[in-house]
């Protein structure tokens, strides 16, 4: 079955010849018309549209956006803050950066609509420290929008005022965790907070109710308000509405960004038809479907079980290539849709070395607050580094698994899962490679392997 055509909602104009990131170009393409209409509507109506749309957060967890907005404590009398989570740091994910670089006004419009819907008077864009160019573009775009009356005092002549500030992080993965982000925005170390009691919807930024949404999510809000929540819900599949941007990287012919209806494309179509298949003379070996913390899938394995289609339960028997790329299907087979970062590895990759790379990243990014993640991530890194650069032992695979099993579900934030799932899944799927690694190391290197770059 051939791959469906891309459905470009967020990327509607991005990559078009002559499309620039300034306000004039954005308005020429109908920019800020949705905001103009929105401010004449009731905020509750807008929230209802988002609830009807079934939009799920695009940051990684896939939490329904309407539900998140519904949890906000509106009775406390405290100001409500909205934070745009632009701390896109998950390895393999690069969609938010592209949106901000190419179409910053789309994000600003989506943010302002969301602010108006939630009666937010102050929004922050928390942008990753390693994206100075994006920050400059956003600053410029916000200044343009402010001058044109889309941001700031008395937006479009109404009584409603809301400003946006860009806040640059200092370069830490953990700032993408919403409570860590809030701590960082408050000027502290980005140590995630314990939940309960610090749910952002109740006790967020400066102990006030706070909404934290991903860049892509807020861009979708703009589309939802423009076309209606019911219309958005028709895109994609039930429970996984709208489009998703997949960032494909690694060993495919044409890596890049691709926006498809959620769940309408399978992994095989994405990799083979859209991305042109494996590099010449190679075979796919494994793929991580949702950013490096998602559990890895091994080509050749099959996923069996029952799933709900409409009201009925249907048997499924999928190869990796058959898995639909949506939150629920990927969750069902034991991995996750995550941030949409698809990392492809072919048969030249040694899984121990790949895991050593991932572990080095997570041990470097652990905030160090709670014990299992702090000590576990570094221990796993030390083991895999020793395996690659020093003396690998046959028992290391079992040790790695045991260490990884002591982390998830026991930490303050989801980093515990993020740092242990790669190790758990690599060993579950490629255990033989880990057990035999000490022999592999002694064997002469295959000359067939091409350099990666």
């Amino acid at each position: 079955m051939a791959a469906p055509a891309q459905r470009r909602i967020i990327f509607q104009h991005i990559d078009e010849a002559g499309y620039t990131n300034d306000l004039a170009c954005y308005q020429k393409h109908g920019g800020y018309e949705v905001l103009k209409k929105s401010v004449t509507r009731k905020p509750e109506e807008l929230i209802d549209e988002v609830k009807k749309s079934g939009l799920r957060g695009r940051g990684g967890a896939g939490f329904p956006c309407g539900v998140k907005w519904g949890l906000v404590d509106r009775k406390s009398g405290k100001p409500i803050y909205l934070i745009v989570n632009a701390d896109e740091s998950e390895p393999g994910t690069f969609k938010d950066r592209y949106i901000m670089h190419q179409d910053p006004h789309q994000l600003i419009e989506g943010t302002m609509i969301s602010c108006f819907a939630n009666n937010v008077k102050q929004a922050y864009i928390y942008i990753r420290g390693e994206m100075p160019h994006g920050a400059r573009i956003l600053e410029k775009a916000i200044a343009e929008a402010r001058a044109a009356g889309f941001v700031g005092k008395n937006i479009l002549g109404t009584n409603y005022s809301c400003d946006i500030f860009v806040h640059r992080g200092a370069g830490a993965y953990i700032c993408g965790e919403e409570t860590g982000l809030i701590e960082s925005l408050e000027g502290k170390r980005a140590n995630p907070r314990i939940k309960p009691p610090y749910f952002p919807a109740v006790l967020g930024l400066y102990q006030c109710p706070t909404i934290v949404n991903n860049v892509e999510t807020l861009c979708h809000v703009k589309y939802i308000i423009e076309h209606g929540g019911a219309e958005f819900a028709k895109i994609g599949t039930p429970g996984n509405t709208g489009t998703r941007i997949y960032c494909v990287s690694g060993h495919v012919q044409r890596p890049g960004y691709f926006e498809f209806e959620c769940g309408k494309i399978t992994m095989g179509q994405l990799l083979n038809d859209v991305c042109g298949g494996p590099l010449p003379g190679r075979k796919f070996k494994a793929v991580i479907p949702g950013g490096s913390s998602a559990k890895i899938m091994r080509f050749g394995e099959r996923y069996k079980g029952k799933r709900k289609v409409g009201a009925e339960m249907v048997d499924y028997d999928w190869a990796v290539e058959d898995v639909p790329m949506d939150f629920d299907s990927l969750g069902m087979i034991g991995t996750m849709g995550g941030s949409g970062g698809v990392i492809v590895m072919d048969d030249t990759v040694n899984m121990v070395e790949a895991l050593a790379n991932i572990n080095a990243f997570y041990s470097h990014e652990s905030c160090g607050q709670c014990t299992p993640c702090r000590e576990g991530s570094l221990w796993m890194k030390k083991i895999t580094t020793r395996m690659v650069h020093g003396a690998a032992r046959a028992e290391d695979a079992a040790l790695l698994k045991s260490v990884a099993d002591q982390i998830p579900g026991r930490t303050i934030c989801a980093f515990g899962e993020a740092c242990s799932w790669p190790t758990q899944s690599f060993i579950a799927k490629f255990g033989d490679e880990f057990k035999n690694y000490h022999e592999t190391k002694q064997a002469p290197k295959s000359t067939a392997a091409q350099p990666l770059v």
């Binding site: 170390r189 314990i194 709670c370 014990t371 702090r374 991530s377 221990w379 020793r386 026991r410």
Partner: protein, 562 residues
Amino acid sequence: MIQPAKPADLVTVNVDGKDIAVPKGTNVIEAARQLGIDIPHYCYHPKLTIVGNCRMCLIEMGLPAVDPATKAPIVDPATGKPKINWMPRPQIGCGTNASPGLHIRTTSPLVKDCREGVMEFLLINHPLDCPICDQAGECKLQEQSTGYGRGYSRFVEQKNVKPKRTQLGPRVTLDDERCILCSRCIRFSKEIAKDDVLGFIDRGSYSTLTCYPGRKLENNYSLNTVDICPVGALTSTDFRFKMRVWFLKQTNSIDTESSVGANTVVWSREGAIYRITPRRNDEVNDTWMADSGRELFKAVKAADRLTAIKVNGADSELDIAINAATQLCKEGGVAVVGSGRSSVEEQFLTKKLADTLKASTFLVSWVGQGDKLLVSADRNPNVRGALVTGLIKTLPAPKLTDLAAQIDAGKIRTVISVGEDLAAAGLSAVQFAKISVIYLGTHANATSAAAKVVIPTQSVFEKHGTLVNQQFRLQKFAQAVPAPVGTTDDLVVLAKLAGVAVADVGSAWKLIAAEVPALGTMTFVNIPETGLLLDATPWAALPFVEGETLHYKPAVPAAVTA
């Protein structure tokens, strides 16, 4: 005596199958503690905010299942008890508060696995240098590793290297490799001492506790960080390498540096005191005490300690000295200068002595700057005791101007001083020349040098007694170490001078109970370790000098703002 506080809203929680009613909002660690169930923890401290970062107190938690339609609890048909929905993930005990029907498991395989996992993680980068570590014997890491440790290490990699022997301040030494990053010391500095100098730098397992650049941990509460450090990372520079804690005898005592009366433990061995640490009293000092109060024991072995009874400058014996004193008093014109540092029993006998001699009584106030925490402006620990025993009726003045005037007028010829330096209290050399001084005290000073009779007495660490703190809380202290040869218990000396049959604190209390209305029906033994609040109403209108401290608010505006 005051009524116990009204019980707050109680909720029933179930820990390991046992029900217990606790006030709403009590966390699971405290609720389990009431049942005698220990939930191991490192970062949780009852007097600090909860951060939940050590993950040692993970427990399984469940709530009664509720029918979504009727909101009625679902009953398990097999057992007839409410069905419990157990949460799949373990929760932290410190951050989970009691709510109606909360069920907790602390002994399940999952909980055991969590504890063993955390324990192993904490130990992999820990130097395991218990044999040379001062914390050994009172180390939580050591303690929990006997329960949840593996007994051998699976860690074959290089351990992290961090700074050793860092001087964080004048009294605290830090070994970063031993630190388990629980952040208790950081929270203490920020929340209690209000001196936010500690923090972590670097991240992940390389996180390192350090002082803010250019600052030092030198506030007067810095040693509390040593007390609350669950491991041997923060150690007292003074106590370091001095003594193994398991050799030390613990004696309950009271901090006598001010009228706060912080509860303390005196740690001693073979007659020598090694350190003083705070003892928890939620009504007085929580779990804290000032650094200054921990150094008081150094006076015990000070070079200027009085250890020889002297009559007219020559060595003598107690009975001879008492006789000499009695002879001096027989001449009439006697004044007794009592002390706000004496115990209640001594003040009672001082009053007896003054009554017997028909002498006028005086007291000297010592006032300093209060720190609003655990050192109050009144540096006498027991002015309230002098009021309760009737030794004084009004608050003392800083100088003995009345006494000086009476000496100048020739009315006073003999002064008995109970540990008070009359020169420091304002008597001039001319006035000294006009009087005979009988001095009872612990340390040499101008008064002891000028005294006709000197009887060395004992410090608070060498005797039993009680003190009344600023809240009118009667608190007792016990003898920690034997007194040096040549000294005599103040009680005995005062009783002999007054001609009363009192040999020890027990017999003193028989008299006190009979004669002091506010202290009737009591004996020394039945005063609780956390003290007994007395009725303060007779003295409520007095303008006490203290300002606000941790658990004290002045009834009337303070005379000296602290």
